[in-house]
């Protein structure tokens, strides 16, 4: 357990120190959302209707741009080999790094989402389901992203490839995240959507651990 937490602490410290990962992610998040009123027009009603979707998709993209830096620096400077030799199983290493990634990207995005909702004239009822689904969905995104990031280690132009690989896998997380907001706005029960979103998170957890560890072993040969 202490090895797990030590790895999480190390990764968060590195991300914050090296290039201010959290700030970059939040910056991208805010700037991209600000582009939408320019694209679709500032009409408050239109923006309010698509606000939840904009926030969700931009959260996905913001989490994805930092995925290349999840494993590649460790592979290049040899830390990945040391982590593989540590008493912590490689699957736990993957989950620890995903947790650190989420703390640095997904969590700040989730906390800033209400402010973005305000800017996009989001319906008052939609705030709570949006934040709850983001809080559940962004860890799933970090985990799914880790699968993609570990698979392209050592590939030419792997960073560009990660998006193509993981964005199709994000679709279920996105669908149920948005459907929870829509259900609230329609007055329908919201718990089923939240429970399915949580189920997706729990399915992604072992999947990412084993697929990611397998891909890391592949990269280290």
């Amino acid at each position: 357990m202490s090895a797990f937490l030590a790895l999480v602490r190390r990764d968060v410290a590195l991300a914050v120190r090296r290039g201010g990962e959290a700030a970059l992610t939040l910056g991208f998040f805010v700037v991209t959302i600000s582009l939408f009123p320019f694209g679709v027009g500032p009409d408050p009603e239109l923006l309010g209707r698509i606000a939840a979707g904009i926030v969700w998709v931009t959260a996905l993209l913001a989490a994805t741009i930092s995925l290349d830096r999840l494993f590649r620096p460790d592979l290049e400077d040899g830390s990945l080999d040391l982590l593989a030799l540590s008493p912590l199983p490689l699957e736990a290493v993957v989950v620890a790094k995903c947790l650190a990634h989420w703390l640095v990207t997904g969590l700040p995005v989730t906390l800033l989402a209400p402010l973005m909702g305000l800017m996009l004239q989001l319906d008052l009822q939609a705030y709570l389901p949006l934040i709850v689904t983001l809080a559940i969905g962004t860890p799933a995104i970090s985990l799914t992203g880790a699968i993609g990031a570990s698979l392209v280690l050592g590939a030419r132009r792997g960073g560009a490839l990660i998006g193509l690989l993981v964005l199709p896998l994000y679709v279920p997380v996105l669908i149920f995240g948005i459907s929870a907001v829509e259900a609230t706005l329609a007055g329908l029960p919201v718990m089923p959507h939240i429970l399915i979103e949580t189920a997706i998170l729990f399915v992604t957890l072992p999947l990412a651990a084993f697929a990611g560890a397998g891909a890391l072993r592949l990269a280290m040969e």
Binding site: I147, L151, V152, G154, A155, R156, R157, G158, L161, L164, L165, L167, P168, L169, V171, P172, L207, A211, G214, A215, L218, A219, E221
Partner: protein, 245 residues
């Protein structure tokens, strides 16, 4: 049975088997698809609601079935490669990907062409269409990933992992029309209660489906044989270069 399946992993045995199977599967494919096309375009009665536009179904549905079947084969080959390291399984999986992607594209395009006269729109974001589109992107990602590495075997193993992870999309596609309210019609052939489609249409559909499958088998065998030949050429070139130095 397991011994038989593992014996298929030997390239020599594969070459012998495929040399015997290929002419027959090609003949079967040509015959069935030819018969099926004539039957469905001319002899099957027009639909009472859709008229003659229903004849697109005889290309659209088999193509969609093949799109999922190719992915299932790809995933099975990937599992075989990851567990037992059969190189032939890796070659088969990577040969299947472009064929499956093409079938998916055909299904999406014919579906759009069919949707315009019947639904009034080329595209709608319902569960079935969206999950098949995701399948198409999974194929493209697989093809991109397997070619992205300088070391070919690395690429094969990475793509194999991706194929297995993406296999979760197959049951989603199959059951999407039941789990969600979709514009795409629910299952009328592969159902627990038996097919609801009329026999005059069902048989032509099955003929096309088996024809498409034979076509896929022929294409796959040709691609695997070409890949094996290419690797043999490469090895010979390397030997020649080493010998002359």
């Amino acid at each position: 049975m397991p011994a038989f399946l593992h014996s298929l992993a030997s390239p020599a045995r594969f070459q012998r088997l495929s040399r015997r199977v290929l002419p027959w599967s090609s003949l079967l494919a040509a015959g069935l698809i030819g018969t099926g096309l004539v039957w469905s375009l001319i002899f099957v009665p027009a639909d009472y609601q859709q008229g003659d536009s229903v004849r697109v179904m005889y290309v659209h549905v088999p193509a969609a079935w093949m799109a999922m079947f190719c992915y299932a084969v790809m995933a099975a080959m990937s599992v075989s490669f990851l567990i037992w390291k059969h190189t032939l399984a890796d070659i088969a999986a990577r040969a299947s990907a472009p064929i499956g992607a093409s079938f998916t594209a055909v299904a999406l395009i014919t579906g759009a062409l069919w949707g315009k006269p019947t639904w009034g729109t080329y595209w709608v974001w319902d569960a079935r269409l969206t999950s098949v589109l995701v399948l198409f992107f999974l194929y493209l990602g697989h093809m991109a990933l397997s070619g992205a590495f300088d070391d070919r075997e690395r690429g094969g193993r990475a793509a194999a992992i991706l194929a297995v992870v993406g296999a979760v999309n197959l049951p989603i596609i199959k059951f999407s029309v039941e789990w969600w309210n979709t514009l795409h019609q629910p299952a009328s052939v592969l159902r627990m209660d038996g097919p609801t489609i009329h026999s005059s249409m069902l048989w032509a559909l099955l003929v096309m489906a088996i024809g498409f499958t034979a076509f896929y088998v022929s294409l796959l065998l040709i691609r695997i044989r070409s890949e094996l030949a290419a690797r043999r050429i490469e090895a010979l070139q390397r030997l020649a270069a080493a010998g002359s130095s």
